[in-house]
Structure formats: C-alpha cells, structure tokens
Symmetry: C2
C-alpha cells in the first residue's frame, strides 16, 4: 500500500524499483494531532517525511525562545531531506499544526539513490531550484510589498488559479499562524487585513474569506511583485 503511494510521488518519477522497495521497507504512516513535535533542530536526521494530509510547520528558535517560521507545508510535500547535506542533522524543528497524516521514511535509501541515479539527482536539483525561487520571491516581497499586499498574495496562492466569479477561501490554519508564516506581529497582521478589506472589497468572517472577483486582489498585490499572476512557480507538492 505505502509503496504505491511512494511510486506516485512526482519527485521520484525516475527512481527504480529497488529504491521503492528499500524506502517502503522502512516506511511508517502515522496520524498526529496539532502540537506534536516531529523533531527538533539539531536532532540526528535518520528519516525524512512525506505529508499525506494536514499541515506541518518548520521553525527555528533563538536562545530566548523567539520563534521564526521557516515554512508551512501541506499534502504532497517532503521535508527533513536536507539533513543529508547538513552532516545528517535537521537544520530546523518540525511541528504538526493541523491534524496530519505523515509518512516517515528512512533517509539512507534517498541518499543512495541520489548517488547512483543521476536522473533522480537532476530531479532533486530541479525541485531545490524551484524552492529557491519561492524563497527569492518571499525575500523580494518582504522588501517591496506592504503587509496588506503580502496577505493578499498569501490568499491568492490558496486560490485555484482558474477560478472565476465569486470565490471563497478557507484559511487552512489559525490566523495567528498565518501572521507568523508571513513574519508579522499579530497586531500588524490584524491592521493589514483590515486595510486589505477596505482596499479590495474582500470580506472576512472567521477563517472564511469571500471575494466577488479575484482580479481586484490581483491588481492590488501583484502590482508590487516581479512575477505575473497566475504565478508559474507555484508548487503545492514535491514535483
């Protein structure tokens, strides 16, 4: 069963049967509740992880406990794999932020496959280049977008990019976590969300956001971005 799931992961499309056999032999699927810590920054990285459903936060902490959110991942994403390039140590901590089903996988077969299968190594490089571009965009937005535009961009990325007419978005996790993901203080986030409603006519009720037409939001946020909407580099899975 697990082997079938693994065979369908886009990133592994060029991997051979023995890779999947070795991977599946050490694989375990778990359901976790919100709040569960999967590993801590500095732990030995013997495993990597595949998100089958739910949401996982990667973060780091300063000595005085201030938390910096590195990223928040959902279905189809792989994480923990970069321990391979960090002397076998996780460079961040991971916490479940909404009930999730996670497949834990042994990291050794992954490392071996990179070393022996250059097509797969090429796929890994492509996937990392894609992630790098997303981070470039994140850094760019923190330079040239205001807080409201950044919230707008976050919402647009939750849209099916071909939706037309009135659309509804449900925030996938807690509003305060959205604020942390965007690197904003809660007060800044609340003020900026209010401003976004005034500027673009979106309506917010709890964690549901309704807009009559996404174009106003696109005009508002994407004006201060170097990419065009719909963003070609959006990836919601390990491709």
């Amino acid at each position: 069963m697990l082997k079938n799931t693994l065979c369908n992961i886009g990133l592994f499309k060029d991997c051979g049967d023995s890779f999947f056999t070795n991977l599946a032999a050490g694989a375990k699927s778990h359901k976790y509740n919100k709040g569960k810590i999967l590993f801590l920054h500095g732990d030995k990285g013997d495993n990597f992880f595949y998100v089958q459903s739910g949401w996982v936060k990667l973060f780091r902490e300063t000595l005085d406990g201030t938390q910096a959110v590195v990223d928040i991942f959902t279905t189809g994403h792989i994480f923990g794999d970069t321990a391979i390039f960090e002397d076998g140590i996780y460079p961040y901590s991971a916490e479940i932020v909404e009930s999730s089903e996670i497949i834990t996988l042994p990291i050794a077969p992954l490392k071996e496959e990179i070393a022996n299968n250059s097509k797969f190594a090429f796929s890994m490089l492509g996937s990392m280049a894609k992630y790098r571009r997303q981070q470039d965009r994140e850094i760019e937005h923190r330079s040239i977008q205001n807080a409201s535009q950044r919230i707008g961009c976050f919402l647009l990325r939750l849209l099916q990019q071909n939706e037309d007419g009135q659309v509804q978005i449900h925030l996938p996790y807690d509003k305060m976590l959205v604020a942390s993901r965007l690197g904003m203080q809660p007060e800044t986030f609340s003020r900026a969300l209010k401003k976004l409603q005034n500027e673009t006519g979106i309506r917010v009720k709890g964690s549901t956001i309704t807009m009559d037409d996404c174009n106003q939001l696109v005009r508002y946020s994407c004006a201060a971005c170097t990419s065009e909407f719909p963003c070609k580099d959006i990836s919601s899975a390990a491709e």
Copy 2:
C-alpha cells in the same frame, strides 16, 4: 590558464578532465565596469558565470520598475547556473556593481556533467542546500531582527571571523546598495545605522566602520538570530 582557474573551483572538485576541457573551450574572461548589465531576467541562459573579482548584483523588477535585489555576489561565486532548471531562461537580471572580472562559461557542459557524474550532482545539491539555509536565515531575520540588528549582521559577515581587538571594515559597495541588499528604504537604513552606532559604539566614517571589539555587535545582532556566532553556514565562495 583559464582551465587552471576552473580546476581550483571547490564546487568542481569531483569533475573529470573532459568536463574542464569542454568548459574551458567555451570560457571567456572579461573585465567590466560598474553599471554593465550581463543579462536580463527572461533572457536565454546559454552561459553561467564565475566571479573572479568584484561585485555582481542579481535583481528582478516589477512592471512599474521597482527593483528587488535578489543577492549580491563577490569573488568565488557562480551565478546564472539555475537557468538549467528554468527551461533555459535566467530567472533574474545581473548587473556589475563594482569593477569586476567575470569568467563566462558555457552551460551545456555543466548540464551534461550533472547528468553523468553523480558525485558532482551531489556537490551541486550540497551547494544549493547551503544557499537555501542562507535564504532561510535571511527570511528569518526579516521577521525577528530590527533594521539595526540586520545591518549589524551584515557587518559581522564582512569580518574575518577570528579577528580580535580593534577591527575596521570597509563597505564593499555603495551604502545605498547595502540598503537595497537588506531590503530597506534609504531613510530607514540611515536611521538604523545611526541607532546601531549609539547601541554598540561602532564608528562610521564614509564607507569605513571601526569597532573596538566586535563582541558588542555580536551581542546586539546575534541575540535575535537562531544561529550562533561565528555562523557556521557562512560561505563566501562556490564550495
């Protein structure tokens, strides 16, 4: 001559002789003055580049011409190589920001070597993972450091990490460019630099910065960072 330079690039340590021969056959070394555009975002990426000396800015622009600085590189850095994973298109523009000597290299042998030499592919992945961690840190700092702390961090990264006693740093490029690199408006940068002087006792005269002891700066900036000083993940070259 050029082949010798290429053989000494750390990233290429596992590459074979035929790779260096092919690379050197298409290599050209150029001296450029400040302001020269090497390529534009969206150009066809037939070459990648090695910085032999000087400083190069990678950037992107919005439709209305607002510029976002992606990174600024110096001696030992490679750029333009990610076009391989972007359908052969440069994902950013590149401009010379201080007189530089740049080696232009054909991208085809690089792509071939990744496909045929898994040790090299592994090195490329390691190098990308390192860059990714640097970007993670950049995003983190924009969330949890104030502007003065971020300037302090920028200065600390220019230090030889084992320097003791009184130290002098020369800003490698224009102050306003340092501001753009840090994603700050010029006014924000000036105010934050003044505050940094008050808080840590550093002295700024033109582009020279003097401090009696770097520990005060370390205490000030690194308190709001999840890494410890000296930063293990600092890389000044293509390793």
